[in-house]
């Protein structure tokens, strides 16, 4: 019974990683950059919902919408101010700038929302499911995380493969210059990518904070790194890969913590990642890409 419990919790955590990883993968696929500030946009999303719901007393749905809008705008702004001037620079320069943005967001949040942890009010209102006479409990947040991540993966795949904007994104990810020649506006496509990625981060922030209701200025940092691992694990650039990677990382983390050693659970996640990459150097679903770094 306990095993089932661990498994469910692992999938729940993994689904949240998956949503975060999708943001990483999307931005990486199109803009070819590791957006290290992605984890901090999650934190901003969390604070946006918290402020709207607790401080201003807005209703849940409006607050959620507000958070998505805030994060989307933030994503576009960051891209315009910090990344766009470096479009032609080496990807390492952009990586460092992203780290700068990450520091900036964390410390700005510290100044605005102070250092004390906030307790997040769950935005999920789904009753919990009891299995086996209450021995196994599936929380509403778990159900929500799984449903939301599946919907996002399906929706994103449909969007990318079946709409004009989505195909433009694919084209830009294949070859920026060729895409430009074909009349695609590369700049606006990249902006769109950041907008979607940041909107997803807002959703991830809500799921994360609803499941683990604490909110500080570093809330997004560690989940961000683990989701990044998940994205690489599944093959960075691949949407279903991010989903698979996220869930696997979540399950390994929880099972490792339960059955082997809590101290070494994180080490184990990384060890499995290394093993997978040894066998399949571009991740589970990754395609071979020509590296420029």
């Amino acid at each position: 019974m306990a095993f089932l419990d661990y498994l469910i919790n692992g999938i729940s955590l993994g689904s949240i990683y998956a949503v975060i990883a999708l943001g990483y993968t999307l931005v990486y696929g199109i803009a070819k950059m590791l957006n290290f500030a992605h984890g901090d946009i999650i934190m901003v999303g969390g604070y946006a919902v918290f402020t709207a719901m607790v401080t201003w007393g807005w209703s849940t749905w409006v607050a959620m919408l507000f958070a998505v809008v805030v994060c989307t705008l933030l994503g576009i702004t960051i891209e315009k101010v910090a990344y766009k001037p470096l479009r032609k620079a080496s990807s390492l320069s952009v990586l460092i700038t992203a780290i700068g943005v990450s520091y900036f967001l964390q410390n700005l949040a510290l100044l605005i929302f102070d250092e004390k942890p906030k307790v997040f009010t769950s935005v999920v209102n789904i009753p919990k499911i009891n299995l086996f006479d209450g021995k196994v409990v599936i929380k509403g947040e778990t159900t929500a995380a799984i449903l939301v991540s599946v919907v996002i993966v399906v929706g994103l795949s449909l969007f990318i493969n079946h709409t004009q904007k989505g195909r433009a994104m694919l084209a830009v990810s294949e070859d920026k210059d060729a895409a430009q020649l074909m009349g695609i506006n590369v700049n606006s496509t990249i902006s769109l990518t950041f907008a979607i990625g940041s909107g997803l981060a807002a959703v991830a922030g809500m799921l994360l904070c609803s499941s683990y209701p604490t909110l500080t200025n570093t809330t997004g940092a560690m989940p961000g790194i683990k989701a990044f691992v998940a994205a690489v694990f599944g093959g960075i650039g691949s949407i279903p890969g991010a989903m698979i990677g996220g869930i696997l990382i979540g399950v390994i983390e929880i099972l490792g913590r339960a059955y082997i050693s809590p101290q070494l659970a994180d080490a184990m996640v990384f060890a499995v990642l290394i093993l997978v990459l040894m066998i399949k150097p571009t991740g589970i679903l990754g395609k071979k890409i020509n590296e420029k770094v």
């Binding site: 955590l13 947040e141 683990y212």
Partner: protein, 394 residues
Amino acid sequence: MKFAKKLMALSLAAVMAGSCLTGCGDSSSKSDGSGSSDGTIVIGGSGPLTGSAAQYGVAVKNAAQLAVDEINKDGGVNGVKFKLVFEDDEADPGDKAVNAYNALKDKGMQIMLGTVTTGSCLAVIDKTKQDNIFQITPSASAQDVIKNDNTFQVCFTDPNQGKASADYIADNNIAKKIAIIYDNSDAYSSGIYNTFKAEAAEKGLDIVTEQSFTKDSKTDFSAQITAAKSAEAELLFLPIYYQEASLILAQCKSADYSPKFFGCDGLDGILSVDNFDKSLAEGVMLLTPFAADASDDATQKFVKAYKEKYNNETPNQFAADAYDGIKIIAKLVEKEGIKADMSASEICDKLKKAISDGFKFDGLTGQGMTWSADGAVSKNPKAVVIKDGNYSAL
């Protein structure tokens, strides 16, 4: 990257020049802690003001400032006033803690209140020893912190807390089957855990499962809770800080698991977390030297003043320890007749002898506190239980 290099070189030159100017200005008069001429004693505080441990550092800084202001308002001690300078050490266990300490020295620190976290404290204790600066830490609770003769604690040493907790649980027959969840990457938490475990074995308590977590994975406790639940533990011992504890309480509830909860002073503050559902903490027992709604005058006066000054926030035990720390320093300064123009080393020699020599202190965090020469405080822990959203004595 030729240009980058030049830009860097230029900025380095500017930075160096700037630092030299400011550095020289300060150091020429004060860097050896040789005392100040304007009649104030400089107390240096160090703790995390940014980063993930900022909540503890800010509490200490605020309360220490409050205490200093109160003392100065009353005309100081023997006419000597205090000045608090506080530096951010980011809770770093290495160079940043030492940087903060050095910055304090440059600002003429004569007595040190700090550091807030154990890791940073371990990095600076040998520096304060070398410079012979009297150091009293409000909250760094590891045994190693007080290995030098110039370092003293306001808080309990970890082993004491672990032992006292196990004794309390056994003596009052609260539970027999116990599960522990502790932070393995934190010195405070693993310190309490180690002694709790040893004492529990002596007292015949049955520890059914020991679960830990680390700094990097302190949001998801489902695995630990499931383990405790399936081991049928009646009591969950939580020698951790309140932020993680609030998550454990919430996750226990959603897993339909309701054991008794028992914690140490790190749990204090849980009720004042923004937006926290107080019903979750109902019945939680904790061993803490300070409870913000205790009915004694001193506590009430402190809580009122703190709330007035800092945005209506309720002080936690870090704040109380820091407030006591400053008051302890003040009382010692009074007793020894310390003058503002004495050097840090001179002050240290006097204070470290005085504190363990029949000195008694009644503060927020304990009555009749005394210190042994090795630096540990002796005071009685109070057990409190959370009832109707408030602390009440057990």
